[in-house]
Symmetry: C2
Subunit: 308 residues, 2 copies
Amino acid sequence: MPSDPLPSWNDGASKRAILDFVAAVTTEGGPSFVAPADRVAVFDNDGTLWTEQPMYAQAFFIADQVRRLAPRHPEWATEQPFAALLSGDRAALAGTGEAGLGHLVAAAHAGMTTDEFDAQAAAWLATATNPRTGHRFTESVYQPQLELLALLRVNGFRIFVVSGGGIDLMRLFTEEVYGVPTDRVVGSSGKVAYALENGVPTLTKLPELGSLDDKAGKPENIRLHIGKRPILAFGNSDGDQAMLEFTTIGHAPSLGLIVHHDDAAREVAYDRDSAIGKLDTALDAAPGYGWVVVSMKDDWNRVFPFAD
Amino acid sequence: MPSDPLPSWNDGASKRAILDFVAAVTTEGGPSFVAPADRVAVFDNDGTLWTEQPMYAQAFFIADQVRRLAPRHPEWATEQPFAALLSGDRAALAGTGEAGLGHLVAAAHAGMTTDEFDAQAAAWLATATNPRTGHRFTESVYQPQLELLALLRVNGFRIFVVSGGGIDLMRLFTEEVYGVPTDRVVGSSGKVAYALENGVPTLTKLPELGSLDDKAGKPENIRLHIGKRPILAFGNSDGDQAMLEFTTIGHAPSLGLIVHHDDAAREVAYDRDSAIGKLDTALDAAPGYGWVVVSMKDDWNRVFPFAD
């Protein structure tokens, strides 16, 4: 028997569903075989591949950017989500959801070139730590999911991150941390404008939102960026429900999965009433569509790569 | 000596520039080595990978769609580019350029689901022929470029098509014809809206233009879809100039190339005064930036895969 490709997953229905699905779609001549070109897997990021507690990593990052720009934007003192961020009101900030985050991303970086953004964000990622885990954000990823990404990759899947987080920040670490290259990252984005400035090709970030990659925006962006329906989708919140529908309904073979954050001891237990990563309608829909609800508490024997 | 990887390219400065560049960026330990993850090559489609004469292939395709929808749009009788298309005025239609084409793409398909579009477009591609070559549009591609794509691929390049043509139509043939999967196709696009309609996940094409992938739109979309500066760009018109700048200026090692359509015998000779694929400012800029101007007449001993 070969060694277990998913050692951080406990034996049980969730692990079995994954292993059975991968075996089925890769068995040539079998009834569920899928050609490698169509083995597209999409993963949400916040709450699915890395922790979104105590707050989206992107929110910590843009707090510094917004504070720097605030003197030029007096209206932010009363306008959400800026006011919540500037006053340190985490509950109000969380209440603006991934939509609020998308607007912050677009607004807070306007006027900066993409090179300036990339340099600042890379420096932040190299040093900032998640206040709850005490580890870098890029280390506060889920070990069982790293194993799943590796399993899918050796089985010929092309893996895409499709997340409400900002596309630019994610691209600075997805290749190193998840093995996902920049062109396989889909996220919320602000528009950019190209010009040859003093002979230098320059992309400047505009205050205009390009796309909010959440809810219906996920299948819409999958069409734009990938151009194929995935056969596997993994999410953790109602923001992923449309992507799960698009992947699985009337589209066999396929597999939909949801991380259920039910582990108060090793992370945070949250679902229907949470401002961050609210999981309510998708949890209700899961049984009817056959989506696998993965219990962090019961299905994962390890949560993070560091000891926990 | 290994067999020639570019048999349809005549020996000369253009072929030498390509072979030298590929050798330089793949020589480990050499001064111009580029890691495989950064070997990104971008190709325009119309006039660069396949012929855009006597008219963009997409224009032939959407003519049928526009005629079908015209009764619902009386304003099209006087509004360009619709009027030119409906009246069969090819010169006027060509005069609206790739921008006009982008607007036609967005407008003519509104209200259709993506599944409906894909089925209609695939049926069209399977049967329609280019009136000048007498062969299918998907056969009216440039043999020397197919060889170049293969050479780049075996040398670890990721190849993207970045074209003013509609992203949806291109994706239906790029995998089979160019070996370029759907997620590596960037093009002009209309917006789509996702909804679960009667329990069926549905993407509906909207009349709103999402992005016009021409001129400055090319580096802007490269940022959005690829997230990295390419190291090789190949175009044929002023619409590719911004992409060539973005790829090459202050970004070594890199290679910019332009197909110069100077072969009246085997294709059509056109450049500065052409409504289709106008090549004027980019031709003037080429020497200063070191872009390689590829003469169809002198550099290619064969143009199409079929006898010509």
